[in-house]
């Protein structure tokens, strides 16, 4: 049995995220091509990495059919021009697909079975709406195992409001508004753009180039948010304003064993400390990151107070608020989602996990005083996923507690 190898996150990139719609910027772009752009763009940033050193490619997608079918990691590797000797596979844990790609391949590195890997995800929700053509087992409903509503993510968010009445619609809207403003501020400061891989896009008006996220609404106001429809319930609390939009996009990241990275001259942007996945009642799937984070903290021997930066996926405001409330963190705590989140930027399901990591890695470089960071997200059918990372720029990095 090989010794445990430390796993470092070298780099992460993504395509700009597009609105999932017939009018969205990726309406005429294939999902697998988005993943290919992300992987090609990632590798172009590391021209000295011998491509045949890549041991595996895992690309996640929630709906693995059509242009998201055919074991994506392998097809994307071939299409991105990787040597035929590099294998690949597809992975699925719904919204936590890319996160699971990172933890799965990272585990392979830790076990000494991989040196360098690529992990990412893609979701073209315009072409593959969540649950399309799914055939849920009727037992879920007939045996009352899971409520039919549990498959509708908006309804599960409404149910979180039921469960935690003090987390009001007003708080949700305010959190969403802040996300929009923080994202725009980050754009204005040029924080987001360096990790975006431009994508040529075809349209009826000719070729264009996607260079920014399409779904941002920096002009949002509380007054405007209050007028939005509540599509999941009459007079409900969840709106298009305080939920992440349907999104098309892809992400890719490069992970390596610590020593291999050093040998190959690959910089370590983060070290994987621990991770955890947990199941919860599917009807309130948004609460998932709470137990998954507790697991990750336990395995790392850390407490929540030691986490200096949080990248939490904003599937819904209420779901992030539930997490913050549980851990006693203020709605507007400056450690949380420094550059906004999925409400502003978008949430292409299986791709999002690596976006969280990419942003956290950038923030680590800007905040050497922070030692640990958390990436966490809720997952459909009642799950949460969390990964804790250590900042190599911190003075005590790898030096024990």
């Amino acid at each position: 049995m090989a010794e445990r190898t430390e796993v470092v996150f070298v780099d992460g990139v993504r395509t700009p995220f597009g609105r999932a719609s017939e009018k969205g910027m990726y309406a005429q772009t294939r999902a697998d091509d988005l993943a290919v752009k992300a992987v090609s763009g990632l590798l172009a940033r590391h021209p000295n990495l011998p491509l045949d050193r890549i041991d595996d490619v895992a690309i996640a997608a929630t709906t693995q059919q059509g242009d998201q079918g055919l074991t994506l990691g392998r097809t994307v590797a071939i299409l991105a021009g990787l040597p035929r000797s590099v294998p690949g596979f597809a992975i699925d844990r719904m919204c936590a697909g890319a996160m699971t790609a990172v933890t799965t391949l990272g585990s392979g590195i830790a076990a000494g079975q991989y040196d360098v890997v690529i992990a990412g995800g893609v979701e073209h929700m315009g072409r593959h709406p969540i649950g399309l053509d799914a055939d849920p087992n009727p037992r879920f409903v007939t045996e009352r195992i899971v409520s039919g509503d549990a498959l509708n993510m908006g309804v599960t968010a409404e149910r979180l409001h039921d469960r935690f009445p003090h987390l009001t619609k007003d708080r949700s809207d305010r959190f969403a508004l802040l996300s929009q403003h923080k994202a725009q501020a980050a754009y204005d400061a040029g924080k987001i753009q360096p990790d975006l891989i431009p994508v040529a896009i075809r349209s009826t008006e000719g070729w264009g180039l996607a260079t920014e996220d399409e779904g941002r609404r920096p002009e949002s106001t509380m007054e405007g948010m209050a007028t939005l429809k509540t599509p999941f319930r009459p007079h409900g609390k969840v709106t298009a304003g305080n939920a992440s939009p349907l999104t098309d996009g892809a992400t890719a990241s490069l992970l390596a064993g610590e020593q291999v990275a050093r040998d190959l001259g690959l910089p370590a942007a983060m070290r994987m400390v621990s991770f955890g996945f947990a199941g919860v009642q599917p009807e309130v799937m948004g609460i998932g990151p709470v137990p998954s984070t507790e697991r990750a903290l336990n395995r790392a021997g850390l407490t929540i107070d030691e986490i200096g930066l949080f990248e939490l996926n904003e599937a819904f405001s209420i779901q992030v608020l539930t997490f913050l409330d549980r851990f006693g963190i203020a709605d507007d705590d400056p450690r949380v989602n420094l550059w906004g989140g999925a409400i502003a930027i978008g949430h292409p399901l299986a791709a999002s996990g690596v976006r969280l990591m990419t942003q956290l890695a950038r923030q680590f470089a800007e905040h050497p005083e922070v030692r640990y960071g958390l990436t966490a997200m809720c997952v459909g059918l009642g799950q949460g996923g969390s990964v804790i990372w250590e900042n190599p720029h911190h003075k005590k990095y790898r030096k024990g507690r």
Partner: protein
């Protein structure tokens, strides 16, 4: 200098109402540096089966678009302009349907000028222009790129070429002037003159880079993104190396010499008749000095002259035959009647049989069994075929697995019962009716009821051969041309007995072999040999009359045939030519000329003609001169030419009456594909019409109206 902005093109626009317009869409791109680049996309709105082409309306739209962009550039709104195409295509060139319909020299000048008016804008934007060659770029398509300041190329682009000379034109939208100044005279000659004359060869992407046609290439997976990033770097001051741009020394020492060499090669290869290659040479020579604008004006004139001349129209006729009619043969039964071929038998193990076996196994990828009476001949044939397969592997045409597969599919035996499960058996035994009948009589009882029997005979009657068959309806003529692997034509000869299923199968097999097949009646010499016999007979007659070899060889120069008649006879072999001549003379004694001198020359068994360094026949060898008997003072070139013209016009009219083929177009197609007769002659019918031969002999032209330019 022509001020293109002052020319009124509204008449061209009006004449092009049915054009499939290639639109010019514009989107602003924010580059990484923050600069704005206006990206023009050329797109005709059709799918990949209809490449974008450039007609008057599309060009006017492009000009208007670029004029607006020049204004935006002047206002400081954009830092650069780039142009690219819809997926797989930049543009496949000018919209030829409208060009060939132009009515006068004056409007022909305008189509040339409109190209310059639109494409020339890429050099007058006030900001750098880029062409991102994302796919096929032919003719005017590639000239878009040449008119831009910089060029990138998608490594998966299907082809780049300036094929104008191939169809009787010159690259007249900037190509003939800009290309030599970009890549040097020798590379320009290769692209503009040599490649079009080598079966219209195109540039592969690696060649386009190494010759300097484009500045850089990028992989398809990220082509547009990489091109935009590259353009951004160029705008930021990155130097782009242009190692092929001719310097003073090249212009002084190399330019005119290269033109002169090319000219003498052309004269040797093509003779003086085809206009477009020489016109291209003139333009390339003149491109050495002077302004770009003067070069464009010369292009306008040359293009207009050619468009309004006869040769271009004949070339377009020929081009359409090859591109369209050849792919949809006329008179063929429905392909649903075709039988599936799962195993092929080849009777014989000679050179022709081996060539056929290789072709069938390579293209059909089914077992091919060859038979012969002699086991040693079979072994030799198998060895040769497998060596040929190995050679394909060595050349990189097929991979190891494929080579192993093909070699394993080939087998040979003296036992003809191996044909029992063949669906297709082709004979390539000695060209003698009795021999072939014996083979068929022996073969038929061994075959399945539905197996097709094909014969590669070139001159015997297929029906006579089939007289011994119990099922003559399954017999079809399947006449290849030498060398079998290279020549694209197959004459498929149907006898009165041949059934539809057999003919349909033969055409399916021809398509699988990647040959262009033409349906002919079972008449002596089918199409190509019958008409070549006419030409060779007249050459022999002239020789018999004491005409000097040089006069005979050059008498037909005005038609522009690929080789002189004696050179042709020498190539096919004097014995074969004598045999073909005998066959046709026996069939049509009053119309074909039989010369004993052919047999006498064949009997020498040694070279009978002298060749120059280009392979042209320039005289008889001593052995040749000693072998022949001549009487008379010889015919002059004009007489020989007239005999050939009239003879061809006469024979073709008779063939059409006999129903040898469905239409005159099939005669021309056969001559073009089977004998390499020139596009500019339209095969031959356009030529015979324009020189008056058809009217002289038949009282009418083959085409009505004749295929002629507006200048006549």
């Amino acid at each position: 200098m022509t001020d293109y902005s002052m020319i009124d093109f509204s008449d061209l626009e009006a004449a092009s109402a049915d054009e499939v317009v290639t639109h010019s869409y514009v989107r602003d791109i924010r580059l990484g540096s923050g600069r704005t680049l206006a990206l023009v996309t050329l797109d005709n709105g059709r799918d990949h089966t209809r490449p974008s082409t450039l007609g008057p309306r599309g060009l006017l739209e492009l000009r208007a678009t670029l004029t607006r962009l020049a204004e935006r550039a002047a206002a400081g709104e954009i830092a650069a302009v780039a142009v690219t195409g819809k997926p797989f295509f930049l543009a496949a060139g000018a919209d030829l349907s409208n060009i060939s319909a132009l009515g006068s020299h004056a409007s022909a000048v305008k189509i040339a000028q409109l190209g310059h008016a639109a494409l020339g804008m890429f050099g007058k934007l006030g900001v750098p222009s880029f062409c991102f060659v994302n796919g096929l770029a032919l003719g005017g398509g590639l000239e878009i790129a040449l008119n831009c300041d910089y060029r990138t190329l998608d490594e998966s682009a299907a082809a780049l070429a300036l094929p104008e000379v191939f169809i009787g034109l010159i690259p007249g939208w900037g190509g003939a002037t800009l290309l030599p100044r970009l890549v040097g005279i020798e590379n320009a000659l290769k692209i503009i003159v040599e490649n079009p004359l080598k079966q219209n060869r195109t540039l592969r992407t690696a060649d386009a880079v190494s010759l300097g046609v484009v500045d850089v290439s990028f992989p398809a997976r990220n082509f547009l993104e990489d091109s935009l990033a590259w353009a951004d770097r160029v705008l930021g001051g990155m130097k782009v190396a242009r190692p092929h741009v001719p310097g003073a020394i090249e212009k002084l020492a190399k330019w005119d010499a290269a033109i002169a060499i090319a000219r003498s090669r052309l004269e040797a290869k093509l003779g003086p008749t085809p206009q477009s290659p020489y016109r291209a040479l003139d333009l390339l020579k003149a491109a050495k000095k002077g302004s770009i604008e003067d070069g464009f004006a010369r292009e306008d004139q040359a293009l207009a002259d050619l468009i309004s001349g006869d040769q271009f129209h004949a070339s377009m006729y020929a081009f359409n035959l090859v591109q369209k009619r050849a792919k949809k043969p006329v008179g063929v039964p429905d392909k649903s009647l075709a039988r599936k071929i799962t195993k092929v038998g080849v009777v014989g193990a000679g050179l022709m049989a081996s060539q056929l076996a290789l072709l069938f196994v390579r293209r059909l990828q089914v077992p091919v069994v060859i038979t012969d009476l002699d086991q040693a001949r079979i072994e030799k044939a198998l060895t040769n075929i497998r060596a040929d397969v190995e050679a394909l592997f060595t050349k990189g045409r097929i991979d190891r697995d494929e080579a192993n597969r093909l070699s394993a599919l080939i087998s040979g035996t003296t036992d003809k019962s191996a044909f029992a499960d063949c669906d297709w058996v082709i004979e390539a035994v000695f060209e003698d009716l009795t021999v072939k009948q014996q083979v068929f009589a022996e073969l038929e009882p061994l075959l399945s009821e539905t197996a097709v029997i094909a014969t590669n005979t070139s001159s015997l009657s297929v029906a006579d051969m089939g007289a011994v068959l119990a099922h003559p309806e399954r017999l079809v003529g399947f006449h290849f041309f030498n060398p079998v692997a290279v020549m694209p034509l197959l004459e498929i000869a149907r006898t009165p007995h041949t059934d539809d299923a057999t003919v349909a199968t033969a055409f399916q097999v021809a398509a699988a072999l990647k040959k262009n097949a033409v349906l002919t009646a079972d008449r002596p010499g089918f199409v190509v040999n019958r008409l070549l016999a006419k030409v060779m007979g007249e050459a022999a007659r002239a020789l018999d009359e004491g005409t000097p070899v040089k006069v005979v060889e050059h008498a037909l120069d005005p038609i522009g045939l690929p080789m002189g008649p004696l050179e042709l006879i020498d190539l096919v072999g004097w014995a074969v030519a004598g045999h073909v001549q005998d066959t046709l003379t026996n069939a049509f004694p009053d119309r074909f000329y039989q010369s004993e001198n052919l047999h006498r020359l064949a009997a020498t068994g040694e070279p009978v003609v002298e060749h120059d360094k280009h392979g042209k026949v320039i005289g008889l060898t001593k052995a040749g001169a000693a072998a022949i008997q001549v009487s008379g003072a010889g015919a002059d070139a004009a007489t020989i030419l007239r005999r050939v013209e009239d003879g061809l016009a006469d024979e073709i009219a008779i063939m059409l009456n006999e129903g040898v083929v469905a239409a005159i177009e099939d005669i021309d197609l056969c001559l073009i594909l089977g004998a390499g007769w020139p596009f500019q002659a339209g095969g031959v019918s356009a030529y015979l019409d324009r020189v008056g031969a058809s009217e002289r002999v038949n009282g009418a032209t083959f085409h009505n109206p004749p295929i002629r330019g507006a200048g006549n």
